[in-house]
C-alpha cells in the first residue's frame, strides 16, 4: 500500500497504461507541458514525448472528435476536458458520434476512448464550472460512465477505462484531487459495474458517489452514535450500474436514500429507483428519499453553494424522515 493523492492516482493510472501500451496517447488543453490546470498530469509529456502527450487548442469538438478518429484507427486515446461543463460545447461528438458509431456501423467500429473530465461542486467556481454532469452521459446508451471517489478507485477504474474497447466518460471530482488515501501497490484494476460497500449497517441504505460518499460516511458516523446503522454504497460506475448490490442491501435495510450532487431531474437516483422498482416495491418500509440540489443552479457565493450541495446534515435529516425504530 502507498498513500497517494487522488490526482496522483489518476496520473499513475495514465503512466502505467502508457508504459504498458504504446497505443495509449493523451491530449487536451494545457495538459502536456504545464501538466494540466488541476496538476494531474505533470511529467507525462517529459516521459512519453510530444507525439503521445499533446497540448491542444481550445477546441473541445476537435479534441473529442479527433480522439474518436484516433481510437477507430488503432490508438487508445485518453483526453482531458478540463471541466465537464465544457463538454456541452462538444456534446454531439460524445453522445451522437462516439456512443453510436459502433451500432450504426453494425459492429464494425470500436471506439476505445477515455474522456477524462473534472466535475463537481464545492470549490466556489460558480454555475458553469461546478456541475455534476454524470446525467448528461449515463443517459446515453453506448457510453460507460465511471465516477471514482477514492484514490484507489481513480487508479483502478482509469486503468480499466483505458483498456475498455468502448467510449468511457471518466468523471473526476475536482474537490477530491487533494484527497490522500491508501492505494494498492502493483497492478490494480477495478472492474466496471461493481459498487463498493463502504460501511455496513442494517437500518438504511445510503447510495452515493464521490464527494457524497464522504458526506454519507460522516452522516453514518454521527447517526451511529444514536444507534442508527447506515449501509453506505459507492456506485463507482453509473454505466454499467450495479443494481444487485443495492438490492441486496435493501433486503436487509428496507430503506433507501440516494445522495446526489446534481439537480433532482438530472441525477442518477431516478434510474436507481427505476431499476430496483420491481423488488423494492415489496421490500421498502419507507419512500426512497433523494437528497439532491432540487431545482437549483450552483451559486458562486461560498455559503450559498454549501447550502445547495447535500452534506451530512441534510443526509441525517433525510434519515430521520424515515422513522427508523431501533
Amino acid at each position: 500500500m502507498t498513500v497517494l493523492a487522488y490526482r496522483d492516482a489518476v496520473r499513475r493510472a495514465l503512466d502505467e497504461e502508457m508504459a504498458r501500451d504504446e497505443n495509449v496517447i493523451f491530449f487536451g488543453e494545457d495538459v502536456a507541458r504545464a501538466g494540466g490546470v488541476f496538476k494531474v498530469t505533470p511529467g507525462l509529456f517529459e516521459k512519453y514525448g510530444e507525439d503521445r502527450v499533446r497540448d491542444t487548442p481550445i477546441s473541445e469538438t476537435a479534441i473529442i472528435g479527433s480522439a474518436i478518429g484516433a481510437a477507430i484507427t488503432g490508438l487508445r486515446p485518453v483526453i482531458e476536458i478540463m471541466f465537464a461543463d465544457f463538454a456541452a460545447v462538444a456534446y454531439d461528438q460524445i453522445v451522437n458520434q462516439a456512443a453510436k458509431m459502433r451500432y450504426m456501423s453494425g459492429g464494425q467500429i470500436s471506439v476505445p476512448l477515455t474522456i477524462r473530465m473534472a466535475h463537481g461542486a464545492g470549490m466556489s467556481f460558480g454555475a458553469q464550472h461546478s456541475q455534476s454532469c454524470e446525467g448528461w452521459f449515463m443517459s446515453v446508451p453506448g457510453l460507460k460512465v465511471a465516477v471514482p471517489g477514492t484514490p484507489a478507485d481513480a487508479l483502478g477504474l482509469l486503468k480499466t477505462a483505458i483498456r475498455d474497447p468502448n467510449p468511457v466518460v471518466f468523471l473526476e471530482h475536482k474537490a477530491l484531487y487533494a484527497d490522500r488515501a491508501d492505494v494498492p501497490d502493483g497492478e490494480h484494476l477495478v472492474p466496471f459495474g461493481k459498487a463498493a460497500l463502504c460501511r455496513s449497517g442494517q437500518h438504511v441504505t445510503i447510495v452515493a458517489i464521490q464527494r457524497m460518499v464522504q458526506m454519507a460516511l460522516k452522516a453514518a458516523d454521527l447517526l451511529a452514535q444514536e444507534g442508527i446503522e447506515c449501509e453506505v454504497i459507492d456506485l463507482r460506475t453509473l454505466s454499467p450500474l450495479d443494481v444487485e448490490t443495492v438490492q441486496l442491501s435493501l433486503r436487509k435495510t428496507a430503506r433507501l436514500i440516494t445522495v446526489e450532487e446534481s439537480p433532482l431531474a438530472g441525477g442518477w437516483g431516478g434510474l436507481v429507483i427505476s431499476r430496483i422498482m420491481d423488488e423494492a416495491i415489496w421490500l421498502l418500509d419507507a419512500p426512497v428519499v433523494r437528497v439532491t440540489m432540487g431545482e437549483g443552479i450552483i451559486p458562486f457565493s461560498p455559503p450559498l453553494e454549501r447550502a445547495l450541495i447535500p452534506d451530512e446534515q441534510r443526509i441525517i435529516a433525510a434519515v430521520r424522515q424515515l422513522g427508523i425504530k431501533r
Binding site: 469538438t61 484516433a70 484507427t73
Partner: protein, 325 residues
C-alpha cells in the same frame, strides 16, 4: 487546377464507376418512391467525378480512411463498396454493410477505408483529423480524407478541425463538394466569401479550387494534396465546384433553383466530360459506352434483386452491436 490526362485504364475505371453511381442513384430514387427504401436519401448524381477522383487516392491497405456526409452513396461506391451490401443497407435488411442499422445516411465499410458517412453536419471532420493523428504517430504514410459540403463550412466543428490539423500538420485532405446549396439555401446567402477556398488562409493552409465535373482535374488536385500530406506538410483544402442534379433529399423538387441553372450544369456532365475526352483520344466509342452502361445496369439490378430477397433483421439483433467486448 487543370486536368492531367490519366492512363486509359484509370480513365476507364473512373468512367465506369461514375456510370455505376449514376445508375445506382437513379435506382435509389425509384426505390424510395416505391417505399422500398424508407427514411431519407440524399443523391449525388451530378457529383460523381469528385467521388471517383477521390477514391483513386485512397489505399486502405496503407491505412487511408475517408469520412463524408449523408450524401455519401457516391463515395462509398467509388471506394469499392459492393452493391449487394449497399442496397441491403439502403433497405434496412440483413446483409447490409451495417446490418441495416445505419441506412442511407450511415454507410460504413472499414475494409475500404470508409469510416462513415456522417449525418450531423461537420461531425466527420474532426474524426478524420484523428485518423490522420494515428497516421502521424504510427508513421504509416497513410492519407485521410474528410469530405463535406459548402454549407458545412459554417459549423464550428469545421473550423476546429482545420485549425487543429493545421497546427499539428496532419496528413489530411479537406475536400469540399461545393454544389451551390446547403439544403434549400444558396451558398452565398450563408457565406460572406465567394469561395470556400477563401477560408484556407485563416489556417495557413494551401487551397485548390477545381472543376468538380472534371475527374482528371480533380485527380490532379488530389494528387497534389496527397503528396503534400505525405511529405509532412499538412492539410490542403480542396474546393470542387459541382452540382447535384436532384433536390437536397427525398422528394425535394428543388424549386429554389433559378430557371436554367440545372440545364447549364447538365451540359457539363462529369460522365460526358470524361467520355468525350476518351472518345477524342480514341480510348472508347459509343458502342463500348453502351455496353458498359448495360453492364452496370445489369449489375445494379441484380444487386437490387438480391437485396430484396434478404430478410429484415431479426429483432434479436436489436441490442447487438452497441458494446464492444
Amino acid at each position: 487546377m487543370p486536368p492531367v490526362p490519366l492512363p486509359e485504364s484509370a480513365r476507364k475505371h473512373m468512367l465506369r464507376t461514375m456510370m455505376l453511381i449514376r445508375v445506382v442513384e437513379n435506382q435509389v430514387q425509384t426505390l424510395f418512391s416505391e417505399n422500398v427504401i424508407q427514411g431519407t436519401t440524399h443523391l449525388a448524381n451530378g457529383q460523381e467525378a469528385v467521388a471517383v477522383a477521390m477514391a483513386a487516392h485512397v489505399n486502405p491497405r496503407r491505412g487511408d480512411t475517408v469520412t463524408c456526409t449523408y450524401r455519401g452513396h457516391s463515395h462509398a461506391l467509388a471506394l469499392g463498396m459492393q452493391l449487394r451490401p449497399f442496397f441491403a443497407e439502403m433497405m434496412g435488411r440483413t446483409g447490409g454493410c451495417s446490418k441495416g442499422k445505419g441506412g442511407s445516411m450511415h454507410l460504413t465499410d472499414l475494409s475500404i477505408g470508409l469510416i462513415g458517412t456522417f449525418a450531423v453536419v461537420g461531425a466527420g471532420l474532426p474524426i478524420s483529423v484523428g485518423a490522420a493523428l494515428t497516421a502521424q504517430i504510427k508513421r504509416n504514410g497513410s492519407v485521410h480524407l474528410a469530405i463535406f459540403g459548402d454549407g458545412s463550412v459554417n459549423i464550428g466543428a469545421w473550423h476546429e478541425s482545420l485549425n487543429l490539423a493545421a497546427v499539428w500538420k496532419l496528413p489530411v485532405i479537406f475536400l469540399c463538394e461545393n454544389n451551390l446549396y446547403g439544403e434549400y439555401t444558396p451558398y452565398l446567402r450563408t457565406s460572406p466569401v465567394a469561395h470556400v477556398a477563401d477560408r484556407a488562409a485563416a489556417y495557413g493552409l494551401p487551397a485548390i479550387i477545381v472543376d468538380g465535373q472534371d475527374a482528371e482535374a480533380l485527380h490532379a488536385a488530389l494528387r497534389q494534396a496527397s503528396e503534400h500530406a505525405q511529405n509532412g506538410s499538412g492539410p490542403t483544402l480542396i474546393e470542387a465546384k459541382t452540382y447535384r442534379y436532384s433536390g437536397h433529399s427525398r422528394t425535394d423538387p428543388a424549386a429554389y433553383r433559378p430557371a436554367g441553372e440545372l440545364e447549364q450544369w447538365l451540359a457539363r456532365d462529369p460522365i460526358q466530360i470524361l467520355a468525350d475526352r476518351m472518345i477524342a483520344d480514341r480510348q472508347i466509342d459509343a458502342q463500348e459506352i453502351a455496353r458498359l452502361q448495360a453492364e452496370v445496369e445489369a449489375e445494379v439490378n441484380s444487386a437490387i434483386q438480391w437485396a430484396l430477397a434478404q430478410p429484415f433483421p431479426n429483432t434479436e439483433t436489436l441490442y447487438e452491436d452497441i458494446w464492444a467486448s
